[in-house]
Symmetry: C2
Subunit: 124 residues, 2 copies
């Protein structure tokens, strides 16, 4: 099981990958059989191929990810973070307020990601 | 399924109950068969009786809960929040940085709560 520090470093790398426009950096954090539900309530993506195309599309479409509070660990194989997603919609900046929960496998790769944000968490 | 607003109101009531020292207010938010894992990685509490004694003990032991960022909803029956827990340990104030994820049943009661915080999220 990864340490708290390792899991928090992975979440920070997720933010960095987005902010550097480096989708490969983001994709490399996920296990081959990972599951991504973003937002929670949508059909989950399963497996590295779907996840790769998801981040290849989403990373360039995001202007900035910014932590809203320090990343949290757990007493288990999970970590979580509250952050803001800055995007541009029809030439105007919008912010999505999000909380991601990541669960890790023994190799320290993300095997499950859940992104909690709803229609009311988008601020135009 | 509860609306985003109803779920966010429930999470706010959870904070208020703690801040008013009103454990009954907190307990009333949970379903009879609810499951509470606080912190994630510990043995989950199952059912209203265990949850009642947990909050009867924890509410008076907490000085203050404070949101670190606005509460998040989802496109489903879940909501999440990043907050700080102010406690007193041996006469000294300590802060636990936490993210709670609550999942709701059709009656709008919490059926699952997961509290993400690890040993490194306690700041003395």
């Amino acid at each position: 099981m990864p340490t708290e520090q390792e899991m928090k470093a992975s979440l920070q790398k997720y933010l960095d990958g987005f902010n550097e426009g480096n989708s490969e950096k983001v994709i490399s954090l996920f296990a081959e059989d990972a599951r991504v539900e973003d937002p929670v309530g949508s059909e989950p993506l399963k497996g590295k191929a779907s996840i790769t195309s998801f981040f290849q599309q989403s990373v360039p479409s995001v202007k900035k990810l910014e932590l809203a509070a320090p990343i949290r660990g757990s007493h288990s194989n999970a970590a979580a973070m509250a952050f803001n997603i800055y995007v541009e919609v029809e030439g105007k900046e919008a912010v999505i307020r999000c909380i991601d929960v990541m669960t890790f496998n023994d190799e320290g790769l993300i095997m499950d990601m859940k992104a909690y944000w709803g229609p009311e968490d988008i601020q135009a």
